[in-house]
Symmetry: C2
């Protein structure tokens, strides 16, 4: 934690904000997915590059679909903690965790600087995971959502907003198409990732909150803790199987003024009321006002990261057994 030694302890100059990142290893891989076969389709000729040689492609054959991409960054000293898996929200990719619209470090770098190993994931059908390019495999197309639809749903238009609205375009450029019928494939790939990584802590946002809670419920041996930023929902669990993972849920501001978020918040609070190891923290109760749905992009994103970090650092379940 080199940065800590160089910097004072609060605000933009606090721990994890700046300084070098010493990695013992980094790389990437794809997990999961399935092979589908296409038959009976006509061939087509393509010119794949300007001035190149035309090529006739027979589309019939095998397609690898529904795999998931993960990048890993392992720090020189992980301090005895389980690695963090960063799972992004709907319409986003791993880039969510890399930078803020106003160009500051993302949560990924914050936690690397504070000495945590990390995996940066693109959910199935998003980013470097690719998507099924064959209409016969996924009959439905992606959701068609204009930039304007984001303003309301992400609660960024309040006068006291923490979201850097003057850089809204940088959020819009980060967004990638998403589908709505791929939950099963996304979940399968996340579970396969956990089999590969071994015990881990999931840091999730919005849509991926559903997958993180479901993974924690299904595999308490692999999901040791969850930090959930405004999870979009709580999935319907088998009530006979207890939920075990220590879970911190962080919620932003202006939820009561929104047409949809009160019910989403209520569902999460009902879940927390059922399982004592689930803690819901409305950020306004901690003196943080004006946060949007994009907690990891808001101006105070690293103060919120401090909160998550301190919760994790104090959690015995976040540490490897000695």
């Amino acid at each position: 934690m080199t940065a800590d030694a160089e910097t004072p302890s609060v605000g933009e100059a606090g721990p994890g904000r700046a300084g070098p990142i010493a990695l013992r290893e980094m790389g990437s891989f794809h997990v999961g997915g399935r092979v589908v076969r296409l038959e009976g389709q006509p061939a087509a000729e393509y010119l794949m590059a300007e001035g190149g040689q035309p090529v006739r492609i027979d589309p019939n054959g095998s397609y690898f679909v529904e795999q998931m991409y993960a990048q890993y960054f392992f720090v020189q000293d992980e301090g005895g903690h389980w690695p963090l898996l960063f799972w992004h929200g709907g319409g986003m990719s791993g880039a969510t965790w890399e930078t803020t619209p106003d160009g500051r470090s993302g949560w990924l770098h914050y936690f690397l600087r504070r000495g945590w190993d990390a995996y940066l994931c693109d959910a199935v059908e998003r980013g470097r995971s690719g998507f099924a390019p064959v209409p016969q495999v996924w009959p439905q197309g992606p959701v068609i959502q204009p930039a304007e639809s984001i303003h309301g749903r992400f609660r960024i238009d309040y006068p006291d907003t923490q979201f850097p609205r003057e850089h809204f375009d940088r959020l819009a450029r980060q967004m990638v198409p998403r589908w709505t019928h791929t939950d099963g494939a996304i979940m399968a790939a996340y579970l396969e990732l956990l089999e590969r990584t071994g015990p881990a802590i999931v840091v999730c946002h919005s849509q991926s909150g559903v997958f993180a809670l479901r993974a924690a419920h299904a595999r308490p041996d692999l999901v040791r803790a969850v930090v959930a930023l405004e999870p979009a929902s709580v999935p319907a669990f088998d009530p006979a199987v207890p939920y075990r993972a220590p879970t911190l849920v962080l919620m932003g501001d202006h939820i009561d003024e929104d047409p949809r978020w009160p019910r989403m918040r209520d569902r999460i609070q009902a879940f927390a009321a059922q399982w004592p190891q689930v803690e819901v923290v409305p950020l306004p109760a901690r003196g943080m006002k004006g946060n949007s749905h994009m907690l990891m992009m808001d101006r105070n994103s690293l103060e919120i990261a401090d909160l998550a970090h301190d919760w994790l650092a104090a959690l015995p379940a976040a540490r490897r057994a000695d």
Copy 2:
């Protein structure tokens, strides 16, 4: 270059193969693109997450399309060299440069370990760059190419192949859909990236060879050198404008046995005959046999990286002015 001190100098134990990576900074951003407006389309209702609240989305409005994603990794000591921009081939993403099908380090990590700053890019419409989800913007769909079509085009099926064929599935999982009518948008974003990075060296493969040569021709002030792995073509330049960038072109094996590659190779050799600062190296002439189109994934990928590294390290144009 910590790794160098720890390891001997040849083969799998040579420089750049292993050892820690000390970064002074890392992050990501999107550049370029344009805003398109959609009008006159019907609204639709979606359930975006299991157990979530349904949302009605009016698709009419603004879409940010044709932006490009780049990740950057800056090492503690860049040794006075310009940064490397890694540009992938058709149907791939930045993941091309991160790992090999047999699970070894990619060229990205090799060059980071040897002390070069690097930008890892996803071309427009691929990976974390996203693609235009609105049929009205891009009337054509992506190319539909099954895994089988790769075998021949990538020249991986020869008995002496260096391609790790037993892990072909890992290459197939890396592939992402690509379009064939987006060259203009891809090129515009690469030029915008260069404006942002300043002078740089482009390391490119296959399709992106066309973009790299075009960028080097258009902006000799920004493209200081090019390392091109089997560029798919040479674009048609204005012959009145000289090509200035020192350029190393590396070509694999079995080109004469392929129906398309001899003409692609001939075009590159004609280009090199015209401009003396362009050097074409057929790897068999250096004693490297059996290389496929995927030089950075073949078993001897890091020996090929050594060759590129030594060429760059000896090149005055690769260094910042003192």
